[in-house]
């Protein structure tokens, strides 16, 4: 803490982080305060930087997949999908239909557990110690168990491959997902009832951290945060990648772009994920999950480049690859949604109380493994 000016209108500089409990890892904010009012806020990160992109450029196309697990370490399945989608675009690799359905199933399970966890953390930041987070983690546990029985790992799944997925799922596994999915709506109801109408929650979140529609678009904000500001842009609908054009689901939109809307987006998106899961589990066809002719080791795409993107739980996750015709990507770039969503953190916090910084940051949904890479 540094006093920059003394007397009335005293400005203080506080370094929040890197080990502040609300920063979900190692993230710091240089906050200037006049009393308790924020007059400047600069995010500082890079503590987990390991030059993920350089590591991937040093290895073959296949060997980057396990590294992508470690970007947003809560959502390894969607990270895998973003990367393999870009390689499939770069090299023109087709994906069998059953694999596309399995990808949708694991991606929606990932979205569900991410959103449940986020809501739990956000409430934790507001002082609802333990209970909501543990409710969320109880459900997340069941989903991670399913990932473990499918891929062998709970969090670092390393499950998808360009041209399909690594192993097929069994009929029993699908039955387990079906049974879990039938219970999930009750969890969302319970979770929502616990919190909706809670006076403290309303008072703290409504009108806090407002992000306007225009700024959200210009600042490249994506995911639930963008939709909370009322912009109808969901890459599952826009690009219709995979088989997302076959499912009926709605894109929830907010009105005010405040923390409350961002919180509600997560609740509503969980419900839509359940709907997608229901349809995918009903329609999943039999067949191979990978064309045996697809070359995994020693893949040499023709010289060229491709940008592939998906709607990850946090926003637009994209991978930009340039091939020079060798076995290693010449350029490998991740578009990290949670880093780009931090661009306007200062704009959302200016003039607000320092306590609001914590919940505004919580509603952005960052994971430092992805921000820092």
């Amino acid at each position: 803490m540094v006093r920059l000016e003394s007397g009335p209108g005293e400005i203080m500089e506080v370094s929040m982080g890197p080990h502040h409990p609300s920063t979900h890892g190692v993230f710091r904010m240089d906050v200037r305060l006049e009393g308790e009012r924020v007059v400047r806020l600069k995010p500082v990160f890079g503590y987990l930087h390991r030059n993920h992109e350089k590591i991937a450029e040093h290895g073959a196309y296949l060997s980057a997949i396990p590294y992508t697990d470690r970007l947003d370490y809560l959502c390894s399945m969607t990270n895998n999908w973003g990367y393999v989608l870009a390689v499939e675009k770069l090299a023109g690799i087709p994906v069998p239909e059953r694999a596309e359905y399995i990808r949708v199933i694991v991606a929606e399970l990932t979205r569900f557990q991410n959103h449940a966890g986020l809501v739990g953390f956000l409430l934790q930041d507001m002082g609802a110690s333990g209970t909501p987070l543990m409710y969320a983690f109880r459900e997340r546990e069941k989903i991670l168990d399913l990932f473990e029985s499918l891929s062998g790992a709970r969090m670092m799944c390393n499950y998808m491959r360009f041209g399909g997925v690594r192993v097929d799922c069994s009929a029993e596994w699908l039955e387990e997902v079906r049974q879990l999915n039938a219970r999930l709506p009750r969890f969302v109801d319970e979770f929502e009832a616990l919190l909706r109408g809670n006076e403290i929650l309303m008072a703290r979140t409504q009108g806090t951290g407002v992000l306007s529609r225009e700024l959200a678009i210009n600042a490249g904000v994506t995911g639930p945060m963008l939709r909370a500001s009322g912009v109808n842009y969901d890459i599952r609908k826009v690009d219709k990648y995979g088989v997302y054009d076959r499912f009926a689901f709605r894109v929830p939109l907010g009105d005010h772009g405040d923390v409350y809307d961002r919180y509600m987006m997560r609740i509503l998106e969980m419900r839509e994920s359940v709907k997608i899961l229901e349809q995918a589990l009903k329609d999943i066809p039999e067949g191979p999950v990978m064309d045996p002719k697809t070359r995994l080791r020693g893949l040499r795409p023709k010289a060229g480049e491709a940008y592939g993107r998906i709607e990850s739980p946090k926003g637009e996750l994209g991978f930009f690859l340039i091939s020079d015709g060798t076995t290693n990507p010449y350029r490998y770039r991740v578009r990290p949604p949670s880093m780009i969503n931090l661009t306007i953190l200062e704009d959302m916090c200016l003039g607000r109380n320092i306590a609001d910084v914590v919940i505004t940051l919580g509603s952005v949904d960052i994971v430092l493994g992805e921000v820092d890479r």
């Binding site: 990160f45 040093h58 675009k89 940008y307 993107r309 930009f320 350029r331 770039r333 578009r335």
Partner: protein, 197 residues
């Protein structure tokens, strides 16, 4: 996703909308067929504003900004030259080396949230790949470029002229080198030393 014209037509639109802009189509040989447009530095900002504001395009969303390092390339070709050797004209084979200087590139992927189309890919090139390689910043046009241009500055050493807050973002302030460059030599205790290039 249908309202975007072919890349050649887009080039014509830009040249009509921004007089004097030099636009070159960079074809992409991969099945993705995402071709890009190389824009001259002088008109980059105006072209970006045109792409953002034109009613047919409305590329309001700049999704991805990144740097790419292209090293100096040397091509060797064998040519036959006529020479007078010992008073007799003979055909002699000679090797000629042509050196193309390297450059750094800033790549922008643009989409439209309003029209739901994209990507349109813009490329800006620096004159060289020294420590003093400049391109104009597009952060005043798209705020989403703010952190990403800082990252390209941090890791590639591309200086974005007109950026409001150009500082290192992932590496620490005292760090001197640009680790994403292709000729970066890591310090001896770096775990990547000894890994195949």
């Amino acid at each position: 996703m249908t309202s975007l014209p072919a890349v050649e037509e887009l080039k014509a639109w830009i040249e009509a909308g921004v007089p004097g802009a030099a636009v070159r189509v960079i074809p992409n040989g991969s099945p993705s067929a995402q071709h890009s447009l190389l824009i001259d530095q002088e008109h980059a900002r105006t072209v970006a504003e045109f792409l953002r504001d034109d009613a047919r395009l409305r590329l309001d969303f700049c999704s991805l900004v990144t740097g790419v390092d292209w090293l100096d390339t040397e091509t060797t070709e064998k040519i036959k030259v006529k020479k007078v050797v010992d008073g007799v004209e003979q055909e002699v084979e000679e090797t000629r080396k042509t050196k193309t200087p390297g450059y750094l590139e800033a790549v922008y992927h643009l989409f439209s949230m309003e029209k739901k189309h994209g990507p349109v890919i813009l490329r800006l090139r620096t004159a060289n790949r020294t420590d003093d390689a400049h391109v104009p910043s597009l952060t005043p046009v798209w705020r989403s470029a703010e952190f990403q241009e800082r990252e390209a500055f941090d890791l590639y050493g591309i200086v974005f002229d007109g950026h409001p807050d150009l500082r290192r973002i992932l590496m620490w302030d005292g760090f001197a080198d640009y680790p994403m460059r292709k000729d970066y030599v890591p310090p001896a205790d770096d775990p990547l030393v000894g890994v195949r290039p």
